[in-house]
């Protein structure tokens, strides 16, 4: 199952400070969309509003509509916990639970929610998720070892497996490769290409080559100055953004002439 995302005039605030202003975007199901832009432009903030993770910070709030298919995730009576079960997230630094084994990490979404799985169900889910994250062959002999014993790239794929295991509709990735070496990065990028067969993937990245390699559509975010809100400048096919952008700011950013 995969769902589309539509943002309508979305503003994000931290207390009185407006962090992101007036985003309108339509992200299709079963696609990879990249958010690029300079640091502090609000792309990560916007990404976190897509599964209401920004609410973890005190004072954060949102104006506008954000639709998952047709349902507004900020509608009255919507529990953020439900949203997060449908919209999974992979973080900048790999964060496997240090108290759990590899297998338990993959099953964390079930275990933490108190779901009772039979042994065979659990094994099936773990294997499927780990295969889905291209990690099965590397860890199948040490599923009971702690997840923190893996390399950084393996840990990040473990986190992806953990996200995939609960079968979300959308997977958000917040600079998933920024803490990884080039070979691990390649493995993750290959994985993203496979994931889009089943999921809607949204990825924030600082690496423009990566955005060009993995994404079908790209959104460029920018900020006018410190203290000003971030805005989405341009959103188009990735090839258009990188080869023939319509906005001058985008042109300057992708050609490295920014600043």
């Amino acid at each position: 199952m995969s769902k589309s995302i539509t943002a309508k005039d979305l503003n994000v605030y931290y207390g009185d400070f407006m962090a992101v202003e007036g985003v309108n975007i339509e992200i299709a199901a079963r696609s990879v969309t990249a958010f690029i832009g300079p640091s502090g432009c609000g792309k990560t903030t916007f990404l976190r509003t897509l599964n209401r993770m920004h609410e973890v910070l005190p004072g954060a709030r949102v104006e506008g509509e954000l639709l998952l298919d047709e349902d507004n995730i900020y509608g009255a009576g919507v529990d953020p916990v439900t949203v997060r079960a449908m919209v999974g997230m992979v973080f900048q630094r790999p964060n496997p639970f240090p108290t759990m084994s590899i297998r338990d990490n993959v099953l964390a979404g079930y275990k933490l929610n108190g779901a009772r799985l039979s042994r065979s169900q659990a094994d099936d889910i773990a294997e499927k998720a780990l295969r889905g994250a291209n990690l099965w062959n590397e860890v199948k002999d040490r599923l009971d070892k702690p997840g923190s014993g893996l390399s950084g790239g393996q840990q990040q794929r473990l986190c992806i497996a953990r996200t995939v295991a609960v079968e979300p509709d959308v997977i958000l990735m917040d600079e998933p490769c920024s803490a990884l070496d080039p070979i691990s990065t390649l493995a993750i990028e290959d994985l993203i290409a496979e994931l889009k067969e089943k999921y809607t993937v949204v990825i924030v990245t600082h690496n423009m080559q990566q955005a060009a390699r993995v994404s079908e559509k790209t959104a460029f975010f920018n900020i006018a100055g410190t203290g000003k809100p971030g805005k989405m400048i341009e959103y188009d096919e990735t090839s258009v953004i990188f080869n023939n952008p319509s906005n001058e700011q985008t042109e300057r950013y992708v050609s490295g002439k920014f600043g």
Binding site: N72, D79, V81, T82, E167
Partner: protein, 336 residues
């Protein structure tokens, strides 16, 4: 994913309260548990406030009997004349202990953090920490049986040269050193015991903060050609000042409230100026020695509780002053 769980998830999504938004959760129970747990945690916090309020209310309420009795009206004067020697004794003992203990404690912390061989310093730190764990009653026993007899020659010497000799030759001797030391069971011995007791406390707080001194600051000083002491003056002390103050205040608070060591080391009761002959007492000692034998509800009982309140207020004031000093120095220390 297995069919069961897919089904439940699908059901959950397909049973919306409002048909226009399929995301409205049917998981009311989960949200309720969430609120319940938050409430439980909050209740525990509030319970602590209630306990403390109860401590304060009890002390204040039962102190009234020491200041006012139905037949006699206000008797504040009587309580004050009863209480002041104990309050004075408490403060004097604690300050003497601090004067003796704090410099040595800071030096020990400095030794561990900047002078001892690096391999040994961790072990020495552990040992000092373990000494903080020795119960006060053991220190009291040590003070009573080992320290007090050992201090007697010093007291004879002090009495001879600071009181007897000047009195005979100058007509006036320092009254703090008058009298016969007896077995050495006096408040000076008690303050030495307290100094030993607060030493590991002050020392471990200071050590922690000395170790945290930014290496960059230290190396900047050394690179200018500073000696080790100059480096400590330039880089370590300015950084550590609030930590040192709070450590010292922690030690002072401990010394003010310490009961058993004083109970066991000091003998005699009456107030006197001399700190080297038996006599004098502190608030905790007065309470510990008499509370059990005093009938509930008598004026004496109320006086003991009121003494407890006085002690509570004194230690509270010390803690507040420490906090105020630390917050005032914080912005200059670089310790964030």
């Amino acid at each position: 994913m297995t069919t069961d769980s897919t089904d439940t998830r699908a059901q959950r999504r397909k049973s919306p309260k409002k048909p226009e938004n399929a995301l409205v959760s049917a998981d009311r129970a989960g949200a309720g548990l969430d609120r319940g747990f938050a409430g439980l945690a909050k209740a525990a916090g509030i319970f602590i406030l209630i306990i403390l309020a109860f401590v304060a209310i009890f002390l204040s309420w039962n102190s009234v009997g020491a200041l006012y009795q139905e037949e006699e009206g206000l008797i504040i004067g009587r309580f004050l004349s009863y209480a002041w020697p104990f309050a004075l004794g408490t403060v004097v003992v604690a300050i003497l202990a601090l004067i003796m203990g704090a410099p040595i404690a800071i030096a020990v912390a400095l030794y561990i953090s900047h002078y001892a061989p690096p391999k040994a310093s961790k072990t020495i730190g552990y040992i000092i920490d373990l000494l903080a764990a020795i119960p006060s009653v053991v220190y009291g026993a040590w003070g009573m049986f080992v320290l007090a007899p050992a201090m007697v020659p010093l007291y004879h010497w002090l009495s001879q040269w600071l009181y007897t000799w000047p009195e005979e030759n100058l007509g006036w001797g320092i009254p703090f050193f008058a009298g016969s030391p007896g077995l050495g069971q006096n408040i000076f011995t008690a303050s030495v015991v307290l100094a030993v007791m607060i030493l590991p406390i002050i020392s471990s707080v200071c050590r922690e903060i000395f170790i945290q001194t930014p290496k960059l600051h230290e190396e900047a000083a050394l690179a200018l050609g500073a000696t080790r002491w100059e480096m400590i003056k330039m880089a370590v002390f300015p950084f550590a000042r609030p930590g040192i103050i709070s450590g010292v205040m922690l030690g002072l608070g401990r010394a003010l409230g310490e009961t058993m060591a004083v109970v066991m080391v000091v003998s005699g009761l009456g107030f006197q100026l001399s700190i080297i002959s038996p006599g004098n007492s502190t608030i905790p000692r007065e309470i510990a020695l008499n509370f059990g034998e005093t009938g509930h509800g008598t004026e004496r009982w109320h006086q003991l509780v009121a003494l407890g309140l006085v002690l509570f207020v004194i230690t509270l004031a010390v803690n507040m002053v420490a906090r105020w000093i630390v917050s005032r120095h914080k912005e200059f220390s670089g310790a964030n």
